[in-house]
């Protein structure tokens, strides 16, 4: 057998998948701006993605902030630079850990549930049923979830930022013995709008990625229960990888701007 054959086959398969995903993305995006809109579904999805993710995101953020304060203290104490802890915590949380950790946690929560829900609708012919009832499934199922993802992620990340910084404050003040007023003053002095904004832009992109991956894998799931299971796994894995990948791309864009 020609040794180039399998390579070619894998490459062609990759191109086909990329093409399918791009077509899906384009179609999903175009339906977010064309009537009819489904405000009730968008609302329900916003509550699902935003409100019900708060405990997960909040817990992740508070521990991330706490461990960050502790670890940077261990490092910085060697250079007598303990004063920089407030700075390190607030910058890491707003620029990086807030959006990425919230994104990964919600990718697990929301990406999986979207893929399972839409995948089940696919295998039980509910998506075909939508088409026969004068409803475009891309518009009814995918577009509202994309809108809800993009709108709710920044809000979740904003909450995660506040809770994360508070976690750092808790450890710095109650465990490491920092002066509370000084710590808060340091946090506030170092923070710029740019730090928070870049984190929120990342959050919106991550929200889009999570919703898109959940919908795409669910929509294209095949077979019965096993197909839905595969779709769920693929949604979470691909969303997580894309989040980390786009995190670098976006960071570099913000980085080179200055």
């Amino acid at each position: 057998m020609n040794p180039l054959q399998p390579i070619g086959r894998v490459f062609l398969k990759f191109l086909a998948t990329a093409g399918r995903l791009l077509t899906f993305t384009g179609s999903g995006l175009s339906h977010t701006v064309r009537a009819p809109f489904y405000p009730r579904i968008i609302g329900r999805q916003m509550i699902d993605i935003g409100y019900y993710s708060l405990p997960v995101v909040g817990l992740t953020a508070v521990f991330a902030g706490m461990v960050l304060a502790l670890q940077s203290y261990t490092g910085f104490a060697r250079f007598s630079a303990e004063g920089a802890i407030a700075n390190v915590v607030v910058l890491s949380i707003t620029r990086e850990l807030g959006p990425v950790l919230a994104g990964l946690m919600v990718a697990g929560r929301i990406g999986a549930s979207l893929a399972a829900e839409i995948g089940t609708m696919r295998v039980t012919e509910q998506i075909d049923a939508l088409t026969t009832l004068s409803t475009n499934p891309m518009k009814y199922l995918v577009a509202p979830r994309l809108i809800a993802g993009v709108l709710m992620f920044p809000i979740l990340v904003l909450v995660a930022d506040v809770i994360g910084v508070f976690g750092g404050y808790l450890v710095a003040v109650y465990k490491l013995g920092f002066n509370a007023a000084n710590y808060l003053q340091n946090t506030w002095d170092f923070l710029t709008a740019e730090d928070v904004n870049s984190g929120l832009v990342k959050a919106a992109v991550f929200g889009f990625i999570v919703s898109l991956m959940g919908c795409y894998h669910g929509y294209n799931s095949k077979g019965g229960a096993q197909g839905v299971g595969t779709a769920t796994t693929n949604a979470v894995v691909s969303a997580s990888i894309l989040i980390l990948c786009f995190d670098y791309i976006l960071t570099e864009m913000f980085f080179t701007k200055h």
Partner: protein, 257 residues
Amino acid sequence: MNQTPKIQLRGVAKAFGRKVVLDGVDLDVGVGESVVIIGGSGTGKSVTLKCILGLLSPDKGSVKVDGEEVVGMGSSSRERVNRKFGMLFQGAALFDSLPVWENVSFGLLAEKRCNRSQAKDIAIEKLAMVGMDAAVADLMPAELSGGMQKRVGLARAIAADPEIIFFDEPTTGLDPIMADVINDLIVKVTREVGATALSITHDMASARKIANRIAMLYQGKIIWQGPVADIDKADNPYVDQFIHGRAEGPIKMAVRA
């Protein structure tokens, strides 16, 4: 019958990879007629239906609805044509996140033909047509038995007063009595809404009851069609084997894929 057929299929072919499923299907369904396509599992009955509905697009051939070519149609005209259709799915395919009444009036609400409070009244009226109590309207689909889900699916299929109703294996998975109830309902409601019906099934009792005309699909082609009364004297060994459900005959079941 010299008027335009409601549905006309000419040379419809569809293959998945190397597997040819439909190999030139020709079929006419006249206005107000009830045609049943019979055939074994995997002979392409569902694929034929999906090609007409636009859920799949055929590789070759033409599908006309009211004389209008629908293959390769743009999505907005497709939506317009699909408004003529109602469909009862094999597994009922009810939306499990919505209560029964919203399922029934889903199409009406999507087409904005009524507001939500009117929609509920219409849903209750349609549920009554399939012999269901108004109390069912507020239940969720998961709380219903299989036969009841089928009935709700039937109510949903007729809710928008479609011109054409498709039935995908309407009696599969039901006990014989419930199957007969569904058959009666199909006959009754299609007559009441005056719709043309196209069904696919492998249940001969059901086919005899709901059909005016029967067409048999075998290896991607219609090998026999005629009025339901003629099927017993069809003089076609394939049809004969199928309607009597014999394992021996010209049709060889692929035991291994």
